[in-house]
């Protein structure tokens, strides 16, 4: 990497050649104001707020899309630049509804923040707010194009990062809007509900479908027993909503808060993750030893990924693990095993899951197998963001809460369960148990680091029981295609498979970077959250799913053994090809 000398506001600095001026300025302790720019995405120069003056150039340039070169000299702030930025903001505000107080992003909006920082007190232009209908067709996210500032992040995320192509700019000029092809409803489009558009939207134009009111009303209902479970990635991110550093582990405080909110029992999705490993690990061993034609095995914990595969790669369905996701497994056991154990009528249970994910809202009702208990196994799924709001509405002093434990028996988890929240985690957890199932011996060191990290596609091999196990891990939906095409090419040529086992998560970094997590995720924040997850793993008493005492108990008392008939009925699902477009 060659370095170049540039001058920013008279200060000489050395930076890598070719990075944008916006990035370079960070090294000179300057955060050039910007709206459309997001570090996850290629610069698109849509908003014009990051303008700077370049020496010897007659016009202002956008810092986000100005690559640095030797000798570049820029001015990033002077009264004229501030005035230009103010005007740009005022123009955006002139076509933006003035609904801040009742907006989902109130106090958490990038446009509102810039407007406050620039002291905008009036808008000297004719107000021309857009009036376009909301799209509330999906179970997961709401699209409110009237609030859209056309920054283009959601389109870039949906097409580039995720390769889903549900969203596109339609029309032109002041008619431009964000919509699926042909102004159809999002639910009839290829949308996989991953919610990355909502996580990247700077304003209130795309957001999670808020179901807190439904949760509150069931918590109030004396005939209902509300039971909750929390996902691995929630515990390292919820704290951010209360000012804690990303990655701070707040598991015990979350359990306490949930009990204060009125949940009768607090379970942990990590228990479900351990159970998923028992079923999926056994499935892997079965395919390796008896059904090699069904290899590679592909993980299915991620509902956005499931939706993607059913739409884009239905021919790969036979390779999908039939094991349900951890969320769904805890749901199924709550209304069967647990209800019987404590003598609760499953009809009276209202089961809520707290997930870092918008697609989980879709999963809880995706098909009939989500009613395996005879009722909808999980009644409602809320995101990390929604739980943060509920805790605040209840006036709970989250930061000063004492820790409390989760409830037995669906609350106990191992380190293997908790790492489901990061990319590579499901693979690592599966390896820990598959090794034991194949060799009857524990791994010497349970840390399997080749699958860790933010790289989009990770490959590794592992020697188990005299065999070479070839694995791949992919995250961020757009990276999946490469892995699947390799498999399909090998299949078509009748060659040896490139992989035996593939883990897929739709969101960058895995669930820690999920579409329902607190706003503002960047790779830096994803890494902090990831470190929190691995810390939770390393401090766990048991680090392999098969050593979870509660898992052993559930099999002993209820399920029998992995892949048993009861397991198949309650803990497994199936997949069907779905059209990309329903209209």
């Amino acid at each position: 990497m060659s370095l170049v000398n540039i001058k920013i506001d008279g200060k000489q600095i050395q930076v890598e050649e070719g990075i944008s001026l916006l990035q370079a300025a960070r090294k000179a302790q300057l955060k050039i104001p910007a709206l459309c720019y997001h570090p996850d995405l290629p610069a698109w120069a849509a908003c014009g707020i990051c303008v700077v003056k370049v020496e010897k150039s007659p016009k202002m340039m956008r810092a986000c899309s100005l690559p640095v070169s030797e000798g570049l000299s820029v001015v990033t702030n002077d009264p004229e630049l501030v005035e230009v930025r103010r005007s740009v903001l005022q123009l955006i505000l002139a076509s933006h509804p003035q609904e801040c107080l009742t907006c989902m992003r109130n106090q958490n909006c990038e446009l509102q923040r810039l407007s406050a920082e620039f002291g905008i007190r009036d808008i000297p232009f004719e107000m021309r707010p857009k009036k376009l209908p909301k799209d509330e067709s999906t179970t997961s996210i709401v699209l409110d194009p009237s609030k859209c500032v056309l920054c283009g992040r959601c389109v870039s995320v949906c097409q580039g990062m995720q390769n889903v192509w549900a969203l596109e700019f339609l029309s032109r000029g002041d008619q431009t809007r964000i919509a699926p092809a042909g102004d159809i409803q999002l639910d009839d489009s290829p949308c996989i509900k991953c919610g990355q558009c909502s996580a990247h939207c700077p304003v209130g134009a795309i957001y999670e479908k808020d179901e807190t009111a439904r949760v509150w009303s069931n918590l109030m209902d004396p005939t209902k027993s509300c039971i909750v479970q929390i996902a691995p990635a929630v515990r390292v991110a919820l704290g951010e909503a209360f000012g804690l550093e990303p990655g701070t582990l707040t598991t015990g405080k979350i359990y306490t808060a949930l009990k204060m909110l009125g949940f009768k029992a607090v379970f942990d999705t990590n228990f479900g993750a351990d159970l998923t490993i028992m079923e999926e690990g056994s499935e892997l061993v079965e395919r390796l030893t008896k059904h090699p034609e069904k290899l590679p095995l592909i993980t299915t914990c991620c509902p956005a990924w499931v939706d993607y595969l059913e739409k884009y790669y239905p021919e790969m369905i036979p390779h999908f693990s039939t094991a349900k996701s951890p969320q769904a497994m805890v749901g199924a056991l709550t209304k069967t095993y647990y209800a019987q154990k404590v003598g609760l009528d499953p009809a009276s249970i209202f089961h809520v899951s707290v997930m870092p994910c918008t697609a989980k809202k879709f999963e809880v009702q995706r098909d009939q197998t989500m009613h395996s208990s005879g009722f909808q196994d999980i009644d409602c799924s809320i995101t990390t963001r929604e739980l943060a709001r509920m805790i605040k509405q209840a006036g709970i002093d989250f930061l000063n809460l004492p820790d409390s434990p989760a409830d037995d028996p669906l609350g106990e988890y191992t380190g293997a369960g908790t790492i489901f929240g990061v990319t590579g985690g499901v693979m690592e957890a599966a390896i820990r148990t598959a090794h034991y199932l194949l060799t009857n011996q524990e791994m010497g060191d349970v840390n399997f680091t080749p699958v860790r990290g933010i790289e989009g596609i990770k490959e590794a091999t592992l020697q188990v029981a005299g065999k070479t196990l070839k694995i791949a891990v992919a995250h961020q939906m757009g990276n999946i295609q490469t892995v699947l095409e390799r498999v399909k090419a090998a299949q078509a040529r009748g060659e040896e498979l490139p992989y035996h086992f593939i883990e897929v998560m739709a969101c960058r970094g895995g669930c820690v970077g999920g579409g329902g997590q607190p706003y503002g995720a960047t790779d830096e924040i994803r890494l902090q959250r990831t470190q929190g997850i691995y810390k939770d793993d390393s401090i766990s008493k048991e680090r392999c799913s098969h050593k979870n005492p509660s898992i052993q108990k559930v099999y002993r008392e209820f399920l029998g053994h992995p892949l048993s008939e009861k397991s198949h009925h309650l803990l497994h699902t199936h997949y069907v090809p779905r059209p990309l477009y329903r209209k």
Partner: protein
């Protein structure tokens, strides 16, 4: 890619050949869409889906293109397409009066099709013969220095007997 069109559509063999010829060439999408519109008079959704399938282009991209360019139509125009020029010269020569008068005669305004499907009218920018302003086109026929009084006769000429 798994694209299932809600309804199937038949392309003419000429269009099939054209798509085959352009399939792997850069910039093919707009070329193909032009031909599709030539064949159907607009871009039916089933045709857009078929084009997505044949060219391996995402449907979202196709809609991005066909909604960006005014030339592409998403709804079926009338059998006779009347285009009234509102470019600078025709605008100054009261092209708008022609639109108003046509609205009286046809009973429908801009960008709408008459109930019998015979006519639709749209305003266009310069058609390239400003010396003849005000100008209108019916299909591919150009009428220059048009007066309001001539309009009933022009419409009658194209109405199916």
């Amino acid at each position: 890619m798994f694209v299932q069109a809600p309804e199937s559509i038949q392309f003419s063999s000429e269009l099939d050949d054209f798509i085959e010829e352009w399939k792997n060439r850069p910039g093919n999408l707009i070329m193909v869409l032009h031909r599709v519109q030539e064949e159907f008079g607009y871009i039916p959704r089933a045709a857009a889906i078929e084009v997505a399938h044949r060219l391996g282009v995402n449907l979202a991209k196709i809609y991005g293109v066909i909604t960006f360019y005014h030339f592409f139509k998403l709804t079926k125009p009338g059998r006779n397409k009347i285009q009234v020029c509102m470019g600078t010269a025709c605008y100054l020569k009261k092209g708008e009066d022609l639109i108003n008068e046509l609205e009286n005669i046809l009973g429908v305004g801009l960008n709408t099709v008459t109930d019998d499907g015979e006519f639709s009218m749209e305003a266009v920018r310069c058609v390239g013969c400003c010396g003849l302003a005000p100008v209108l086109m019916v299909g591919k026929d150009v009428f220059g220095k048009v007066t309001k009084a001539q309009l009933p006769e022009i419409v009658a000429k194209y109405r199916k007997a």
